[in-house]
């Protein structure tokens, strides 16, 4: 009987045993030593010099060899590497966790410069699907057009395409900024969770479909809004940020930013966790 009395005092969630399942326990309190030495590169990566420049012809290399060679050059202190004859090879320049100036003189195939964390990359051509997928930090500038899934699951940094991009740009975006000088295809910002997408041209149907959070700015016409994507008023902060960012992106000189459309999440789909605790309990 005593147990029943105790149960009566509990909330419904507590009586279901859910209250102990709060999303905590990931705190790491032993860190953040304020006296930590000043250091600007990850452990195990290389301190390179931007003024030390070299060229690498990858015509007769496969992507694994080429990527390995880039790593070796960084370990020798080269901070500016020019890649000659990339010839549309896939997966070039991936997994670079360094500061670096990387210049591709030509076009890249699929999954170019994926999972990078820090480098400044310039591609003087086009890129295929999923360019800069999972990018963490740095700046990537594509001089011409890009394929579908441009910046898929990007988490940080600036990803710029001066031309147009395909469908599903910024799909599952979790941070960072994607800036497109031309048009973008359907489902741009599909399921994006955070970060910003800027399209100066037109955009296809289902813009921002199922977006959880983040912001999309469009300069041209919008094919249609996706589920839960809604228009929001432009603020002074937005205009300031866009003005500065377009300069960084080297595009949009004299573009009338104040006439852009801002799209955000309507947050009506924010019920994703309604079933989660019950499901968790069932699984246990």
């Amino acid at each position: 009987m005593a147990n029943i009395k105790t149960l009566e005092k509990k909330t419904k969630a507590q009586s279901m045993g859910l209250h102990t399942e709060v999303l905590t326990g990931k705190t790491q309190q032993k860190f953040f030593n304020p006296d930590e030495a000043e250091n600007f590169f990850y452990w195990g990566t290389h301190d390179v010099d931007f003024n030390k420049r070299t060229e690498l012809d990858v015509k007769d290399m496969d992507c694994k060899e080429a990527n390995k060679k880039i790593d070796i050059l960084m370990s020798e202190g080269y901070g500016t590497i020019v890649i000659k004859n990339p010839q549309g090879k896939h997966s070039l320049g991936v997994g670079i966790l360094n500061k670096l100036n990387l210049i591709f003189e030509g076009s890249l195939g699929y999954f170019g410069v994926g999972s990078i964390d820090g480098p400044i990359v310039r591609v003087n051509g086009r890129v295929g699907w999923s360019c800069a997928e999972n990018m963490m930090a740095g700046k990537v500038v594509i001089e011409k057009n890009a394929g579908s899934c441009f910046g898929a699951a990007i988490r940080g940094g600036d990803l710029i395409c001066k031309g147009s991009v395909g469908a599903r740009t910024g799909i599952d975006q979790k941070g960072g900024s994607i800036i497109v000088g031309g048009d973008a295809g359907a489902f741009t910002g599909f399921m994006m969770q955070r970060g910003r997408i800027v399209i100066l041209g037109d955009v296809g149907i289902n813009l921002g479909d199922s977006m959880y959070d983040g912001t999309i700015y469009v300069g041209g016409k919008i094919g249609s809004f996706g589920s839960d994507a809604v228009e929001a008023p432009m603020t002074k902060n937005d205009i300031e940020w866009l003005t500065r960012k377009l300069k960084v992106a080297e595009i949009g000189n004299n573009f009338n930013i104040s006439k852009m459309t801002k799209i955000v999440s309507g947050k009506k789909l924010w019920n994703y966790d309604a079933l989660e605790p019950t499901e968790k309990k069932g699984a246990i």
Partner: protein
């Protein structure tokens, strides 16, 4: 009879760890959504000298990936989320935080960079153990 002075409770709106829960959040015992404004754009007038140096060192034009870093809180204590370690990192008690969210965000960014680049970061041990190439 002297009237008892009513002491007005200080409003806690916007303070770390003091957000008012919705009925739904109370019911499920979880926070729905983010606990701070993830879309807040940084105020560059408040850049710290350390961050200026970091930007210069990396050759970037602005805060780059740090634009998405904000001071949040975990278990009622100010903390910043480290995406590399996939966990909240608590701010030491001795660091006094300003009232302004923009200034707090700058501190969070600075501490996060120092933490991630530190040889004491938890990923360093993992890397030593599992590094393939």
């Amino acid at each position: 009879m002297a009237k008892k002075k009513k002491t007005k409770k200080k409003e806690t709106k916007g303070q770390l760890g003091k957000k008012k829960e919705t009925a739904r959040e109370k019911m499920i015992g979880q926070t729905i959504g983010y606990r701070y404004d993830v879309n807040l754009l940084p105020d560059y007038k408040r850049l710290t000298p350390f961050l200026k140096k970091y930007i210069e060192h990396m050759g970037w034009d602005d805060l780059n990936w740090l634009e998405d870093v904000h001071m949040g809180y975990e278990e009622d204590r100010p903390a910043v989320f480290d995406r590399n370690a996939n966990g909240w990192v608590t701010i030491p008690k001795k660091i006094k935080l300003p009232d302004n969210q923009q200034d707090r965000d700058m501190i969070a960014r600075e501490l996060l960079v120092k933490f991630q680049m530190s040889p004491n970061h938890p990923l360093v041990d993992l890397k030593k153990a599992y590094l393939k190439f």
